[in-house]
Symmetry: C2
């Protein structure tokens, strides 16, 4: 009853082994057929012989998963607490990032804020300045939405002239996704009453860096949240406990953590954090201010850099796609460096401004391959090639990089970052 | 510009203070208006004065949230590792349960399984018995879906003749939800090839209790998963690491954890775990075998048992609804013990067999109240009253309880479990 591997030829969807996304893969996995006896026999391992651990108040991953941590931790010399850690995308599946593995980017470390003492102040061009404690915010209607968050510096290593050898998470792991629950910022601004010249909201964090960014009023009145919960529980300290701004689809730095102040203004503050960083250089060397939404992007998370394929046969290609300008409409995959493309399966509802999981089947028979993915979003935006991204940029410009990622597979099954 | 509280009268949606779900709550929260000076002044707290903690490999909740743990831990005397812990529903928001707070129910504790040694065997009425290791399973197409999981003993305390005073989580916290990623069981069964008399699949865990349950083949071939990931990362040990069966919408006990064996049979095994427990007694004392899907249900998580309202004003009523027989179509809320009802807002997409968050606004002016919620699912099933559930049951029957929960609020703002 099981299909032979050779029958899979009829399911070819593109060159170099890509199979139709509806291929069931019967007979294609790495399986061991057992004798009737083998199915029942076998020694009883220790964990089946005596009772295991008791119930606990707050669980943790298995000790066998101790190697699954945030990686690529980079600290900025001379600036205590300034740096980043990255989500190990290649070790995860689905679309939600476990809160313990959400990427970090801090400008002065993670403050330990007492929630009972923390206040959020709304002032500036408002009819009446207001101050909210956590209990007050809990009186307001909340919304819960799953959204990605991406640092605008994510994938910046891809501008290097030679491809850096690193894992998918080390290269692209400044993106994560959570279910965020909070109060629409619009409600708080309407409560304060906007004065006529109001055009911007300057958000400031309570960390020692007083990280601050200017947000156009239009976004603040649209889908911005004052987020209080992440994946069901209160925000993690690294993500702004006890409250953060959250701007769906926009560069992560604007979703100011440890939020304690919102000043309504008629112009952007041109704060240190929005002028010294996060600006893109045009090809002519001039700076583009500002780049708010993160552009459409995708990356194959498995197989990916540093991994090694095992036995020949059919593999599941799995990856993530996202866009700050809509939902993911389509992802295509190539196994021959872009000569031919096949549509990948989009798993589940492709929610706007959220990570979308795509998958497809690929038959590897020991041949070299170059795996690519490219995404299109609901606004019709298409993920560009690396060279197209670089052609529009000045030297050294690395923010907002969304080029197509290529993973090279050699005859030994080793997977490397390549430029294709 | 802000609306006065009295204006809210026009937004009444049902008796005793329930407001229209579209009410914006302007002017209704507990707010502090500041003088212009007050908005900028204030001492700088310690956490704003010096750099915070550095990046970390795997994050944890704030120390200020140390009290948010699984509660109602119950151990069965004489049976090491047998017992349960419960999700603190009243302290959470949104629809995803953090994996560390997912409820537990074990029959012999949590085994510490080495994933490299673990195998899943498929045998019985199949053309060829098969054995899978984790690498083999990763060759198959996976799907990611957010689903609730509920123990069939959840809420069983509500059959007590007098209402037990406990928190929402202690009473109803044997339900949680995660994004589960795994291989459709159908693919593995088709790979093994089903023999003609095949009707059931008996699933067994690798824990010392060898927990086992019989699953009708129809479910196994429908939406059943061999789940490998939970909320993005590998399953937590308490949830079956390295693999579990997952049967969307069905009683939790059937989603066998630490899955190591699937035997295809022509009849249920009538195992200890499906005969000594999880059976409902009919009113005439006869036992009903089996009750697989969990029935439509809802509960207000805030305000809820043991909480105390603070200042008078407008509160957000927030709760969860779910059904094993579809998605949530409607939730209604009452503040007067069921004399009048108002529709609650359903937040976001109401996904099938997943927790759905509902919310509505309620104006509390110090009056006594009895808060109720009742859900209807997409199959047209309606959540029954407590007395309707009990009327159909024999004495002491407590599994699969889905009656309407009533929270009484007294003049002091104290919230108690009441029968209404």
């Amino acid at each position: 009853v099981s299909r032979e591997v050779d029958e899979l030829e009829q399911d070819a969807a593109a060159g170099n082994g890509l199979l139709d996304r509806r291929t069931l893969l019967k007979g294609a996995g790495a399986l061991v057929a057992l004798s009737a006896g083998g199915a029942r026999a076998g020694e009883r391992p220790a964990w089946s012989s005596r009772p295991g651990k008791p119930m606990s108040g707050y669980g943790a991953p298995s000790a066998f998963e101790a190697g699954v941590t945030r990686g690529g931790i980079s600290a900025q010399p001379g600036a205590a607490g300034s740096g980043a850690s990255r989500t190990p995308l290649e070790q995860l599946e689905g679309t939600i990032t476990p809160s313990g593995l959400h990427f970090e980017r801090h400008h002065s470390g993670v403050p330990a804020i007492d929630p009972d003492q923390h206040r959020l102040v709304v002032h500036g061009l408002v009819d009446r300045p207001l101050r909210f404690d956590l209990e007050a915010l809990h009186r307001y209607p909340m919304v819960s939405r799953s959204y990605f968050l991406e640092c605008s510096g994510n994938s910046g290593a891809l501008i290097a002239p030679e491809p850096r050898q690193a894992s998918c998470g080390e290269l692209h792991g400044l993106v994560s996704a959570s279910e965020w629950t909070g109060v629409p910022l619009r409600l708080l601004l309407e409560e304060a009453g906007l004065e006529k010249p109001a055009r911007w909201v300057v958000a400031e964090g309570a960390d020692a860096a007083r990280m601050s960014r200017s947000v156009p009023l239009e976004k603040a009145l649209d889908d911005a949240l004052v987020a209080l919960y992440q994946n069901g529980e209160r925000l993690r300290p690294e993500n702004g406990y006890p409250m953060r701004l959250f701007l769906p689809g926009w560069e992560g730095n604007m979703s100011v953590k440890w939020l304690h102040r919102l000043q309504v203004t008629n112009a952007p503050a041109m704060s240190r954090d929005e002028t010294s960083k996060y600006s893109d250089l045009e090809a002519d060397g001039s700076a583009r201010l500002f780049t708010f939404p993160m552009a459409v992007k995708s990356v194959i998370t498995s197989p990916s850099g540093g991994q090694r394929l095992g036995a020949r046969g059919v593999y599941q290609i799995s990856g993530l796609a996202w866009s700050g300008t809509g939902s993911i409409r389509e992802v295509e995959v190539s196994a021959d460096g872009g000569r031919s493309w096949a549509p990948a399966s989009i798993d589940g509802p492709a929610l706007p401004q959220h990570l979308t999981r795509f998958r497809t089947a690929w038959r590897w028979q020991g041949q070299p391959a170059v795996l690519l993915s490219r995404a299109v979003d609901s606004s019709g935006n298409r993920q560009p090639t690396r060279s197209a991204v670089l052609a529009g940029r000045g030297a050294g410009s690395f923010y907002h990089y969304n080029g197509i990622q290529a993973w090279g597979v050699d005859e030994s099954g080793a997977v490397r970052n390549v430029y294709a």
